[in-house]
């Protein structure tokens, strides 16, 4: 009996200690929007919000900017983004700056509830108080929007939020950002933006079984909204290695002639970055390029060969087309579909973004996982609203699973040295049916909001 009593006491103590550990106080409500904000601060906040791509998760396509409600599918269930307009009832209109700072640094809302790490506070914890102040000023000067949102549908027992304190204990290293004295000021600035507010790793790093980023495999490639977020580093599958200039151009323009067009969630990222200055984006590019490292001699030689081949005479002439097919019926079918549906743009001689990328340059064609090229083939690249943009038709309605599989097998064989992809038809089927959910976005545009708001607002 005595032993049980002691055990019970220990359990109670542990629970009590955990409760104490998990407990966060409420921060007094204020009338946030009534405050006066320096316009320069608001402007700075707008830039930072664009860098942080806040609008992407916090807006349902077609709804008002930052009004939340977007369902974020996670392996643990669907989490709905909150309304972060300064509406007092349904937004964050009662949040003081201190409450905002705490949410960014610790992942706790004003009332003291732990937030799910779908809100990437494991990155935002590095954002300086000064930058948070500007973000706060920007958000509090948006128009308040009143909303009703569906609740979250996370798996048991994750609905019990104090458990998130345990997750944080394991995976949240609270900021602030510590510059590396061995790096240049520009690289430190880039690291601060990319690792903090930019939260690149949220998509580009793999996650463990508890949904936390695997710190040992930083930028080794991850997943976002049904798309592969390719590795940034030595394991990049880009046939022509990325360099600082290419990354900067890509981030600012949403495409690069040797790499193609941003698609999926990255389209929103670059759509937002488009309205920043080179000065804001260059440090990120420099930092990301520093992680890419220098390609080894073999990769470098292959890239040089490819570049010579592509810019040489008759570069695109004798590549594809049905005549190029060898082997059996599936190969013939793939080649015929390629000739009719793809070659006109992808071998049309018109440079990206308005012409299709030469598939020899495509990371999607050269990567071992065909998910991204399946997504693009099925859903295309929708045009942006009211501005010139890259565009590609989707083929979901005209090609069946087997035909797309034949086509992609042909493209892989023809334009990459990689081994053949396995099980493409089944992946196509799962993607088409929605079993594998994919978010489709126009190129170079913020389409979650009605009129391409975001940094442009």
């Amino acid at each position: 009996m005595k032993i049980f009593a002691i055990l019970a006491l220990i359990v109670v103590c542990v629970i009590g200690a955990f409760a104490l550990f998990a407990w966060r106080s409420e921060i007094e409500p204020v009338d946030a929007a009534a405050q006066k904000f320096d316009p320069a601060m608001v402007k700075k906040g707008a830039k930072l919000a664009a860098l942080g791509n806040c609008i992407a998760c916090h807006t349902v396509p077609g709804n008002r900017a930052f009004s939340g409600g977007l369902a974020l599918p996670t392996p643990f269930g669907a989490i709905h983004s909150p309304n972060i307009t300064p509406d007092r009832e349904t937004g964050i209109g009662t949040w003081s700056e201190a409450a905002f700072q705490r949410a960014m640094h610790e992942g706790v809302d004003r009332e003291g509830e732990h937030l799910y790490p779908a809100f990437p506070y494991d990155h935002f914890t590095q954002v300086t108080e000064e930058d948070n102040r500007a973000l706060y000023a920007y958000l509090m000067t948006r128009e308040p929007v009143s909303t009703t949102h569906a609740g979250d549908h996370v798996m048991f027992p994750l609905g019990f939020r104090p458990l998130l304190a345990g997750w944080k204990l394991l995976f949240l290293n609270e900021g602030p950002f510590r510059p590396d004295p061995n790096r240049s000021a520009e690289l430190n600035r880039g690291a601060y933006l990319a690792e903090g507010l930019g939260h690149c790793g949220a998509c580009h790093s793999p996650r463990n079984s508890l949904g936390a980023e695997d710190k040992d495999r930083h930028f080794a490639g991850g997943e976002a909204e049904g798309w592969v977020a390719y590795a940034i580093g030595a394991t990049s599958y880009a046939p022509i290695p990325w360099d600082t200039e290419a990354i900067a151009f890509y981030l600012r323009n949403g495409w690069h002639e040797l790499h193609g067009v941003a698609d999926g969630p990255m389209a929103e990222v670059v759509g937002n970055l488009a309205d920043l200055s080179d000065q804001d984006v260059d440090p990120i590019a420099a930092y990301v390029a520093s992680l890419m490292g220098r390609p080894d001699a073999k990769r470098k030689a292959a890239a040089e060969r490819l570049q010579a081949e592509i810019s040489g005479p008759g570069a695109s002439a004798a590549k594809g087309g049905s005549q190029a097919a060898s082997g059996g019926g599936a190969d013939m079918a793939g080649a015929a579909i390629y000739a009719s549906a793809c070659a006109l743009c992808h071998e049309g001689g018109r440079a990206p973004p308005y012409g299709g990328l030469d598939f020899r340059l495509s990371t999607a064609v050269n990567a071992p996982n065909p998910q991204n090229i399946i997504n693009v083939t099925l859903f295309g690249l929708p045009p942006a609203d009211g501005e010139a943009s890259a565009v590609m038709p989707g083929f979901a309605a005209s090609l069946d699973d087997r035909q797309i599989a034949n086509l992609l097998a042909f493209i892989r064989k023809r334009f990459s040295n990689g081994t053949a992809w396995d099980g493409i038809a089944d992946m196509v089927r799962r993607t088409r049916s929605g079993e594998h959910k994919v978010a489709v976005r126009p190129a170079d545009s913020i389409e979650r909001a009605p009129v391409n708001v975001g940094a442009k607002e």
């Binding site: 015929a336 009719s340 549906a341 565009v391 309605a397 005209s398």
Partner: protein, 163 residues
Amino acid sequence: MAITLDVNGRTQEVDTDPATPLLYVLRDYLKLNAAKFGCGLGQCGSCTVMVDGQAVFSCVTPVMTLEGRKVTTLEGLGTIDAPAPIQTAFIEVQAAQCGYCIPGMMMSAQALLQKNPQPSEREIRDALRTNLCRCGTHMRILAAIRRAGELMKSAAAEKAGTG
């Protein structure tokens, strides 16, 4: 290669390269000229037809992929003497200027309305995102699609009432 096609409910055989775009087969072999060649790259939508009820760009659809599937062109919806609701609506609203993009617009709209007879303004705009008009009846096109939805609805109600 002989390919059997079901176009507007008629089964027809065409002898052509399997990679021939459907648009060429429609216009050159079957003399169905509603679908137009615009960009030839699946970007402007003037070649839009329906395959199994879904809008597709016929200029980038290899004809070999269509065996056993139902192709519908604007000619298959109705005639000048017996127009389909969407055709009636476009005439009523006078929703064409030069008319080059219009058959594609109408097929995209028809595919939408078959799935969703009462689309919202945003759903209409989304469905027509890949149909370009360069001379400017955009607002009338939108109005005509809304009107077509009404006409389809009343036609369905009439049918239900009498049948």
